[in-house]
Symmetry: C2
Subunit: 282 residues, 2 copies
DNA sequence: GAATCATAAC
DNA sequence: GAATCATAAC
């Protein structure tokens, strides 16, 4: 959120752009040796925390790096903001330091990332199904389109320096959701007057139109401060973080239940928990 | 935690003490009419939030006020710091504004509160069993001493003005546990060198000896800043709130499982939740 | 970005 | 006491 405003002017060639952008920091340690991938990266800077996965995916355990493709690295988000939350990291060193709105002006690049994102979306959808229905084979199951429960997109104002695409289950239930921006950045803002006005920008809505207000820092800041609304029922919670958080927990239970029933299977009552029961006698 | 240090000097008679103590505030609205119970109470002061339950228990729904006895009111804690968390509010107007260490110098009063606390402990233990084992009758159940999972005591430095005793399940798992003092105030500090050095003081350890360091504000402040340790396994977490919080969540699962098994019954797999599964494939 | 700590205003 | 907001230091 503290990243500087990016220019909306047409960019120079990607290679020169990477060093001209405000996102290229003076103290970055661009290596000049023949390393496989050269990207700006300051090891101690937490905003550069995604770089190691791009530079050397194989240095990380498979529990974190889910897969490498020729063009992308798939990882788990270290602080998942939903039941399943993965990131797609494009490997292209010409793109990795660009703001997503800039990077995805390149329609060829966008098409490639979309293809990779489809693959990651499949993995995330499968994991989501497993978490909700359990590992067992579901006799007569398959009634749910699990991909429809997964959102794919970028933040209008990313806080991590390297280009990444979120692939995340849409319920937003996680104990890592601790403050306003965590909801604001991931949940859509139902707004009858303006369809696209959300901080989370689906990959399908890119490239962003030149006149989209989200090019402006001011509009992005505004989106992060809007009243909370529930992604599922649209109910509003004004400025109450505790209120929306409690409600999201309740919707989580209902959402799981509905999916489990719709799937037509499930094992061992995986989604039930007595702890969630609302009534009690003491 | 911001309450002033209380005097350790012998108190005057209880009736005069109530107005001499530093806890009696100048703007309190002690009623002078023939109201059933007269206690200092400023309606808008959040630290006086327990007073309404003492003054008029019947004005509150049974979901909040669990029971009245001639000497106490039992309520649910509005911000439970564990699976089950109730409060015992002594009704005696001569005691309600005293610090618990002062109030429980009176051994007759202490004996009465202990008797009431035993009753509330039974209710809490029953509710705990229900939450972990479910509502159904448990064939062959009864292997667990549920009362042993419930702690009864006071805070060395209460933040609410009216005398109250916590009756709380000991696992400390709740989404209302959000900061250091929430753990520090409720979890014991396993300390091989000093048995009683905890901010939570069991009713069984009262009256406090005159030389107990917890009479001093300095010692109470120290207890709230000690490193985190797990109530169940004793593992230490230094100053990491997130670390202890995550661990407590894991111990919660194990604790439930162990109790459910020990009870020798349980229904509908009440304590299981696929969401708690540790491994995953994406 | 996470996490600890401090601070109004209730 | 809860809750929102702001702020270092990583």
């Amino acid at each position: 959120m503290t990243r500087e405003e990016i220019s909306t002017a047409p960019t120079a060639s990607p290679r020169t752009k990477a060093v001209k952008t405000s996102r290229y920091r003076a103290n970055s340690t661009t290596t000049t040796c023949a390393a496989p991938i050269q990207i700006p990266y300051t090891p101690r800077d937490p905003r550069d925390g995604l770089a190691p996965y791009i530079i050397s995916p194989s240095a990380h355990p498979p529990s974190i790096v889910l897969k490498e493709t020729p063009t992308s690295v798939f990882i788990r988000d270290a602080f998942p903001k939903a039941l399943v939350h993965a990131l797609l990291l494009p490997r292209d060193p010409e793109k990795t330091m660009l703001h997503p709105f800039e990077a995805f002006k390149d329609e060829g690049f966008l098409a490639q990332v979309r293809a990779d994102a489809e693959e990651l979306k499949g993995l995330v959808a499968r994991e989501l199904r497993r978490k909700i229905c359990g590992r067992g084979t579901v006799a007569g199951g398959g009634g749910v389109n699990w991909g429809a429960e997964v959102r794919v997109g970028v933040h209008a104002g990313p806080s991590m320096n390297h280009l990444h695409v979120h692939v995340i289950s849409r319920e937003g239930f996680s104990d890592r959701v601790k403050k306003r921006v965590h909801y604001s950045a991931l949940l859509p803002h139902p707004d009858p007057n303006s369809f696209n006005t959300a901080f989370f920008v689906p990959l399908d809505e890119l490239p962003l139109r030149g006149d989209d207000p989200r090019w402006e820092h001011h509009e992005r800041a505004r989106l992060l401060k809007m009243d909370y609304t529930c992604w599922r029922c649209g109910r509003g919670f004004k400025n109450s973080f505790v209120g929306i958080k409690q409600h999201i927990a309740e919707e989580f239970v209902e959402w799981k239940k509905a999916l489990l029933e719709a799937e037509g299977g499930g094992d061992r009552g995986a989604a039930s928990s007595q702890f969630d029961a609302s009534s009690s006698s003491v």
